[in-house]
């Protein structure tokens, strides 16, 4: 191709919007330009092939989903005020944050409901929200008593083992070794304190509202202060 008009001439040749004056120009040029004539001849089959396209049916889908999907994010299209038609970044970021925190908040509510044994009773007079009914409180108290009894038993057993081990280890030593014995017993007492503290923390996590556990906690604090 040596004619520099060929690209635009070909484009206009296949352009149905070209006006009569341009058509006349094209026809006149083609009469005297073998290169452009050849280009029209060679490229026409491609245009003819494309013109053979037959529209295919649209698969089933629901346009309403677009509207509903978008309404789930904003109240209506009129709620947007940006000129470019793009959703404001802050709005999108805010929605993303909500989407991020929503499941976490729902999980938290569920966890609180389970821990505090939330009960919702619906009757003719409306609905009632309660936290761990009478049976629940009784069960918590019983559970706490059992736990404390177990703990005391474990403590007694541990003390007994500790004295036996100390006697075995230091029984034949001189008076100087008594200092080591005292240090050993103090270490064991510190371990016991930490274990007891962990136990009460566990109780606190289980149920803040059990009166007995609060009383035990108060006793523990007093005991610690006395030390």
């Amino acid at each position: 191709m040596s004619c520099d008009q060929t690209p635009h001439l070909i484009a206009d040749y296949f352009d149905d919007h070209a006006d009569a004056a341009r058509r006349q120009q094209i026809d006149q040029h083609l009469l005297g330009c073998a290169d452009c004539q050849q280009a029209v001849h060679e490229l026409s089959p491609a245009a003819v092939m494309l013109a053979q396209w037959r529209d295919e049916p649209v698969p089933q889908w629901k346009p309403a989903r677009i509207m509903q999907q978008d309404k789930g994010m904003a109240s209506s299209p009129n709620s947007r005020h940006d000129e470019g038609g793009q959703r404001p970044a802050a709005e999108s970021a805010g929605r993303a944050r909500w989407l991020q925190w929503g499941p976490l908040a729902a999980s938290l509510v569920m966890a609180v409901a389970v821990v505090f044994q939330v009960q919702i009773n619906v009757n003719d007079q409306g609905w009632q929200l309660s936290f761990a009914g009478r049976d629940g409180a009784t069960m918590q108290t019983q559970s706490l008593d059992n736990y404390l009894a177990d703990f005391a038993e474990q403590q007694q057993l541990a003390n007994q083992q500790m004295v036996e081990q100390a006697l075995a280890q230091f029984g034949e030593t001189s008076a100087d070794s008594l200092v080591q014995l005292v240090q050993y017993i103090e270490q064991q007492r510190e371990q016991d304190m930490r274990q007891m503290e962990a136990g009460f923390r566990q109780l606190l996590n289980r149920n803040y509202q059990t009166v007995n556990s609060v009383q035990q906690l108060a006793s523990f604090v007093q005991y610690q202060e006395a030390q």
């Binding site: 690209p7 352009d15 494309l50 309403a64």
Partner: protein, 191 residues
């Protein structure tokens, strides 16, 4: 004489859709979905991606409804959105390229021997012709494919195409010519 929703103009449907009318929105989409779906099918070369692209285009239309002020035809506006969505989709595909050849591309969509007996001849020929068009269009660079789409199938003017693609009308014409030359060579090498 009572006016039906089919007689209602795009502008009226848009106004009603902006006020929250689901019926108006449905009517508007149904009026243009065939055109948009076939545009998407030619661009992507397969029905699944075409459905995705079509829905992206209508979602884009819905989000920009309030910006349509009737300064041009809705179809021009629609294909402005379609052009942008198609370019976005092509960029996403470039991030994870799918290598196809003329032999296997769109092959699944072409009716095979088992189906042929069940399809009327004319329908079969149309499907084969469409599949061939999709195959060769997929071989064009994105910018050439879109110019061919907007010129041949949507019959937009080169000025409209230039505006949509943010290029000059002369560049649009040059791309169109280059696309036809590429198509010619593809047709010569494709049965």
């Amino acid at each position: 004489m009572k006016q039906t929703i089919q007689d209602t103009s795009d502008e009226v449907l848009i106004a009603a859709a902006l006020d929250g009318s689901l019926t108006a929105w449905n009517a508007l989409v149904r009026r243009h979905e065939r055109q948009v779906y076939n545009f998407s099918l030619r661009f992507t070369g397969n029905p699944d991606d075409a459905s995705d692209l079509m829905q992206e285009v209508f979602l884009g239309l819905y989000r920009n409804l309030e910006n349509f002020r009737g300064q041009s035809q809705l179809t021009t506006w629609l294909f402005r959105i379609g052009h942008n969505k198609a370019v976005d989709m092509a960029r996403r595909r470039q991030a994870g390229p799918v290598v196809t050849t003329l032999d296997d591309e769109v092959h699944a969509e072409v009716p095979q021997a088992d189906d042929e007996a069940e399809l009327p001849d004319r329908h079969l020929q149309e499907q084969q012709s469409n599949a061939r068009i999709q195959r060769v269009l997929q071989q064009l660079p994105v910018e050439q494919r879109l110019v061919v789409e907007l010129k041949i199938f949507q019959e937009l003017t080169f000025d409209d195409i230039a505006e949509i693609e943010s290029i000059s009308a002369n560049t649009a014409k040059t791309r169109f010519y280059a696309a036809l030359k590429k198509l010619k060579s593809l047709l010569e090498s494709t049965p």
